[in-house]
Symmetry: C2
Subunit: 343 residues, 2 copies
DNA sequence: GCTAGCATTGCATCCGTATGCACGCAACGC
DNA sequence: GCGTTGCGTGCATACGGATGCAATGCTAGC
């Protein structure tokens, strides 16, 4: 069974700058200079070299280049499963690509796996890191020591000098609560996210504080895992728990849209309630699905596009000037009208 | 403005194997061998070296290692925006991580950008490529020449020897059509995907063929872009177009779930129709959202988990043995019952 | 005509790790 | 006691491109 290759026993050795140099009749350094923007080469030589490059199909070896320049042109992106807009990864990827950076993707099941990941990241000598997960403090410190710029998305470390791009969850939550309170609701339910999620606690804590501030104490709490199924289950639990003692909450605040969709479906399909007639449901994030007609959620939309751009800008700036200090850029979420709440 | 570092003027030079060697009182090669599984080192020496490694926090430089071993331990993953399960990227990432490979992510807006991407991929000397987009034939050929293993997901090149992991779209579509035909429907609508999508045409072509085979000619075609909004618009167009001439189709086959959700919402919320009372809607993919109670779509679920595993296995096998021939592994989709169609 | 000045170019070296080779040494068999 | 393994170790080199330095050639200025 012979391999049907045109050139049978070609060793498949990659074309190097030496090959190009030989063909163009110049030295290897000339080739390198011809391909470097600031390189000092005569037009004639450059032309000969470029011709050779085209003939051989030469592409510089980024690995070798990284070794000598000490820049890999790679950015590590760390994301977790839930709790995150999948589109954000895509945006990040494109934004970095547009700036000549490549993306090394790390997907965590549990935020706890971070240990292993930080090792890999360091081994590959990435130029920078974008994290949409919470990293252990010592890892943040480690990256600082290594002089590897790090930008968080939607996380802050109050006592560490870190760079962050955040949506103002508290402010967004206040918008929601105020509208609902103004609507005359007095009995509230809250479906919070995973216990270790900073995003969830920021949102939920502020909601509770604001409700209490408005003199409202009738608040039922349930917990979900940021996904549809757990949101649905949470509202069902809420109904079971309250059925005997008191009536179901009039309005349910969910820590994210995914759970809000689940809660809304629980109300309509599991409990046979009308939304927003019998119960109002609001979310947070501004997911695409939340705006689908079947849900039409009242929610707070995070400006993901702008946040991604900001994160990328921030990181790139720190690649060019590592001395830049810590910075946090806060983005306001926008209130999204919908028919999932009686306002 | 002094930097508030513990060690003020530390040059931030990375720890190398020479540093470890010096501390352990051995040669650099001993360090390298101590860290290589098959390395020939005495237990005593290894212990001293590992102690030094721990003290200095040494991690081998993967870039330098790649240069010498000619393996980068990086896999390029090329995905497009639409038409793709976002979770698949996450699955791929984790599956490769579990096998010690790192993922270099490339996200394409248009499948046409592939030109640029293939260049980047080659420059980074990735060990392999997984593509969930259609690549130009010359790029496929190029990767073959470079001996870079390539596995496609849901694409095939009938006349090129390529590796693929595919869902059997035609078979899945037949399951749908047969059930609908058995249900007595005679007037059909089909919402197809983008014109350049192979996945869409495989599904739609088979649907049309099967319907014709069953003696059904009353088929209205509309086109969407694989996203929710275009699916919704497509069904509305279908209603407008058919309102005068003939009645709306009794059943609408959508080329993917996302559009099916849009179509379903169009029927219920834009046209005031009952689903499945007035019209049945079916999709394809088995998206998470499709199973949400508000939609509860009849669809074909692609075994994404298994497909990803297969793709990863296939690629890894080809890293170890580049001589392996082209292979296509076909996966059957499973019929998902739901309430979006009257069956 | 001579030299300063600039643009090109090549040489040599470096980045950090892996590995072929040779050498030293201890154990072993005869 | 000596040759033969075989293990453990260090030396030297290779991977492929970037870059400081010196050498070259050329032009301009006097």
């Amino acid at each position: 069974m012979r391999e049907p290759h045109a050139k049978p026993a070609e060793p498949a050795r990659a074309v190097t700058s030496y090959d190009v140099a030989a063909l163009a009749g110049v030295s290897q350094s000339a080739v390198s200079r011809a391909l470097t923007p600031g390189g000092s080469v005569s037009d004639a030589t450059r032309a000969r070299i470029m011709a050779a490059v085209a003939t051989l199909g030469y592409r510089p070896n980024a690995i070798a280049r990284s070794l000598i320049t000490q820049r890999s042109n790679m950015i590590a992106i760390i994301v977790a499963n839930l709790d995150f807009h999948p589109e954000m990864t895509a945006h990040l990827s494109r934004a970095f690509a547009a700036r000549g950076q490549h993306v090394l993707l790390f997907t965590l099941d549990q935020e706890a796996e971070a240990d292993h990941v930080i090792d890999q990241i360091w081994q590959y000598r990435v130029d920078g890191v974008v994290a949409a997960v919470t990293l252990p403090r010592q890892h943040v410190a480690l990256l600082r020591e290594r002089r590897t710029p790090l930008v968080f998305i939607n996380r802050t470390y109050p006592d560490l000098p870190t760079n962050s791009v955040c949506c103002d969850h508290a402010a967004g939550e206040r918008l929601l609560v105020d509208r609902l309170v103004a609507g005359g609701f007095t009995r509230f339910g809250i479906i919070q996210g995973p216990p270790d999620s900073a995003v969830s606690s920021q949102r939920v804590d502020e909601a509770v504080r604001r409700l209490r501030g408005a003199g409202i104490d009738d608040i039922v709490l349930e917990r979900g895992m940021f996904d549809y199924a757990s949101g649905r289950a949470a509202l069902n639990r809420m109904a079971t728990a309250t059925a005997t003692a008191r009536a179901l909450p009039q309005a349910v605040l969910c820590a994210n849209d995914m759970m809000a969709c689940g809660a809304l479906d629980a109300a309509r399909h599991d409990l046979g309630l009308a939304v927003p007639g019998d119960v109002s449901v609001v979310g947070f994030d501004g997911l695409a699905q939340a705006s689908w007609a079947a849900y039409d959620l009242v929610t707070i939309r995070q400006p993901t596009r702008a946040m991604v751009e900001a994160a990328v800008d921030m990181l790139i700036a720190r690649l060019d000037d590592p001395a830049l200090g810590a910075e946090t850029r806060m983005f306001a979420g926008t209130f999204v009208e919908g028919t999932s709440a009686r306002l």
